[in-house]
C-alpha cells in the first residue's frame, strides 16, 4: 500500500484485516512529518502518545473488536480543536501552554472512528487570517513553493495534507478558512452546512459562522469524514438533528440532471487571475461533458458580503475572546506581586501582550461595531442584510443544485506580499464568505495549476443539508482532474 495515495478506506481495510498495522502506518506519517515539517512549519505540537494510540488500536483489532470506519488513519488536527492532554494553542501566545482536560466533540468522534492523532497543526492566530502569516509560531509555507503562503486560516492543515505528512486533517472555516488554503495547496476541503458539525471544544472565533470540516486528499475521504463528524451534539444547541446520509457510498460521476449555477456577479469580477479563469472554464467544460446543465443565477448582494462578513465576524469574535484574561488559564502578564497591579491594568497588559496584531485589530473593530451608538447601524444592520443574502441563495437554489465558482481571485501569493494592507487581504475572500453568512455547505476541489506550479481549486456550494449533491459534483470533477491526488514534493 502506497501511503501517499491510500484513502481512509484503503488504510482502515488494511489495518482491520491486519495487512498493515496501525503502528506502522502511524510511524510512517510521524517520521515523514517530523523530517519534512521543518521546511513547512505546519505542526505546532507533535503528539508523543501517537504510537501508543496506534498500538492500542492494534490490540483491540487483535481482540476482534469493532474499531470504526477510520481505523488506523493518522490525522493532523488544527490547533483550534481542543485535544485532551495535548497542548491546544489556537496559534496564540495567550494559549501557548494551555492543556485542555477535554476533547472537542469532533476529535472525540474521530477518535471513536479509530484515528490516531499525529499532532496539532499551525494556523492563523484564532483563525483570523487568510495566509497563515499571523501565527505566534511563525508562518506556514506552501509545500508547492515555500516562498508562498499556504492560505489561511487552516494553513497548517492544508500544507501538511498536501505534503502527505498526515493521511487526513481537519480545519475550521469561518469565511473560507478551509476552502481557500485547500485551493492554494491542491487538496480537498469541505465546509459543511452550519449546524451539521458540533462546535463544542473548538476555540470560538465567530459563533454564527464557524464550522469544522475535513481537509483531505480526495473527495471520498472528505465524505467518509463527514459521516463520522456530522450529527447533533447535545453540548452544542446550534446543531441540527437533520439525518446524516452515508455520503461516501453515494458518490457518482454521472451528473445527468444536475444543474450547476454560475453566479452572474462573480463572472463580472475583474482582477481574476488568468489561470484561475482557465481552471474555471475547464471545470465548466468537464461538467457539461458529465451531463450537467449550466445555468446562470444572480446574487446581487455579492458586494455586501465581504463587509457583512468582517463586521459580523469581528463583532462576535470581540465577545468570544473576552474570556482570555489571564485568570483561569493561559498567558498572564508578568506581575511582581499581585497587590501591585490594578485589575484593569492586569487585563489590558495580559491581553495586549498575549494577542497578536491582527487579533487585536479585529477585537477593536468588533467592539466598535457593537458599541453604543453603532450597534444599530453596524451589527444589527449587517444581520438584516444577512437574511436578505440567504434569501437570495434560496432563490438561486430553485434554479440550480450546486453553484460553481472560483475559490479565490488568484493562486497563492508570496509570503509578506499582502500582510500590510488588511483591507486588501479581506477583499480576497469575496468568493467564500457568502457561504458562511448563509450557512451553506461549500467545498474546494483541486482542478488546475498556475504557470508557476501553484494549485488552483474550484468551489462548489449547495443548499442547506445538500452536501451529497455538492460532493457528487466534486467527485465527478476530481475523477476528470489532471491534478487529482497530486502530492507536493517537499
Amino acid at each position: 500500500m502506497d501511503l501517499n495515495t491510500a484513502s481512509f478506506k484503503d488504510i482502515s481495510q488494511a489495518v482491520k484485516s491486519k495487512k498493515a498495522s496501525a503502528l506502522e502506518v502511524t510511524q510512517h506519517f510521524l517520521k515523514r512529518a517530523k523530517s519534512l515539517d521543518s521546511k513547512l512549519n505546519s505542526f505546532i505540537t507533535f503528539n508523543d502518545k501517537a504510537e501508543d494510540e496506534a498500538k492500542a488500536l492494534d490490540a483491540r483489532i487483535a481482540k476482534g473488536e469493532d474499531v470504526g470506519v477510520m481505523a488506523g488513519v493518522p490525522f493532523g488536527i488544527k490547533d483550534m480543536f481542543c485535544t485532551r492532554g495535548l497542548k491546544t494553542t489556537a496559534a496564540s501566545k495567550i494559549l501557548e501552554n494551555f492543556v485542555p482536560p477535554y476533547d472537542a466533540t469532533v476529535v472525540e468522534r474521530l477518535r471513536k472512528a479509530g484515528i490516531t492523532v499525529l499532532g496539532k497543526l499551525n494556523q492563523d492566530e484564532f483563525a483570523m487570517g487568510s495566509s497563515n502569516e499571523n501565527s505566534h509560531f511563525g508562518p506556514v509555507k506552501n509545500p508547492w513553493n515555500v516562498q508562498y503562503v499556504p492560505g489561511g486560516s487552516s494553513g497548517g492543515s492544508a500544507a501538511a495534507q498536501a505534503a502527505r505528512l498526515a493521511a487526513g486533517t481537519v480545519g475550521t472555516d469561518t469565511g473560507g478558512s478551509i476552502r481557500q488554503p485547500a485551493s492554494f495547496c491542491g487538496i480537498v476541503g469541505v465546509k459543511p452546512t452550519y449546524g451539521r458539525v458540533s462546535r463544542y471544544g473548538i476555540v470560538a472565533f465567530a459563533s454564527s459562522l464557524d464550522q469544522a470540516g475535513p481537509m483531505v486528499s480526495c473527495v471520498e475521504d472528505a465524505a467518509t469524514t463527514l459521516e463520522v463528524i456530522c450529527g447533533r451534539d447535545e453540548r452544542d444547541q446550534t446543531t441540527s438533528d437533520h439525518d446524516v446520509p452515508k455520503f461516501s457510498q453515494n458518490l457518482k460521476e454521472d451528473l445527468k440532471g444536475m444543474r450547476v449555477g454560475l453566479v452572474k456577479e462573480y463572472m463580472t469580477e475583474k482582477g481574476l487571475h488568468a489561470d484561475v479563469q482557465k481552471t474555471l472554464d475547464s471545470a465548466i467544460e468537464t461538467l457539461k461533458k458529465r451531463g450537467a446543465e449550466i445555468v446562470e443565477v444572480s446574487i446581487s448582494l455579492t458586494n455586501q458580503a465581504v463587509p457583512m462578513y468582517y463586521l459580523i465576524a469581528a463583532s462576535e469574535a470581540s465577545s468570544n475572546l473576552a474570556r482570555y484574561d489571564g485568570v483561569k488559564y493561559g498567558y498572564r502578564t508578568n506581575i511582581e506581586s499581585l497587590g501591585s497591579m490594578a485589575l484593569d491594568d492586569f487585563y489590558c497588559r495580559t491581553r495586549g501582550e498575549g494577542f497578536g496584531k491582527e487579533v487585536k485589530r479585529r477585537i477593536v473593530l468588533g467592539t466598535y461595531c457593537l458599541s453604543s451608538g453603532y450597534y444599530d447601524a453596524f451589527y444589527n444592520k449587517a444581520g438584516q442584510v444577512r437574511r436578505l443574502l440567504r434569501d437570495q441563495y434560496s432563490e438561486a437554489f430553485k434554479k440550480c443544485d450546486v453553484i460553481l465558482s472560483p475559490v479565490t481571485t488568484s493562486p497563492a501569493f508570496k509570503i509578506g506580499d499582502r500582510i500590510s494592507d488588511p483591507l486588501a487581504m479581506y477583499l480576497n475572500d469575496i468568493f467564500t464568505v457568502s457561504t458562511n453568512l448563509a450557512g451553506l455547505p461549500g467545498m474546494s476541489v483541486p482542478f488546475g495549476m498556475s504557470k508557476e506550479g501553484l494549485p488552483i481549486g474550484v468551489q462548489l456550494t449547495a443548499s442547506h443539508f445538500e452536501e451529497q449533491k455538492m460532493l457528487n459534483v466534486g467527485y465527478s470533477l476530481e475523477q476528470a482532474s489532471s491534478v487529482k491526488w497530486k502530492v507536493a514534493n517537499v
Binding site: 454564527s208 491581553r351 473593530l365 458599541s371 453596524f378 436578505l388
Partner: protein, 93 residues
C-alpha cells in the same frame, strides 16, 4: 473616521493595551474598513429581522440533571496562579 482617541477608548472597553503606534495604525486601517462597511447601509432592510443562526433548526433544551465529569483539580490545572483549588488574581477593589 475613527480617530486615535476613539481607538484608545474602544481598546479600554476591550481591555486591550495598544501602543500609541498601534492606535495610530489601527485608526488608519479601521477607518478604511469601516468606510467599506457603509455599503451595507445602502441596502433597504425595513422590517427585516436580523439573521443570527444561518440554518433553520428547531431548538432543544437540556434535561435538568446534574453531572460531575471533572474534579476541581482538573479545572484549576491550567490556572496561571492558584491557591488550593481557587483561582488567584490581583485584588478586586
Amino acid at each position: 473616521m475613527i480617530d486615535t482617541k476613539a481607538i484608545e477608548h474602544i481598546a479600554k472597553l476591550a481591555r486591550l493595551y495598544v501602543t500609541e503606534q498601534e492606535a495610530a495604525e489601527f485608526s488608519k486601517q479601521l477607518s478604511g474598513v469601516v468606510d467599506h462597511f457603509k455599503q451595507i447601509a445602502q441596502v433597504e432592510t425595513k422590517g427585516i429581522e436580523p439573521l443570527i443562526t444561518p440554518t433553520d433548526m428547531k431548538a432543544y433544551w437540556r434535561e435538568d440533571k446534574a453531572k460531575k465529569e471533572f474534579t476541581a483539580e482538573e479545572m484549576v490545572s491550567n490556572a496561571p496562579q492558584r491557591t488550593g483549588n481557587l483561582f488567584t488574581v490581583p485584588p478586586v477593589v
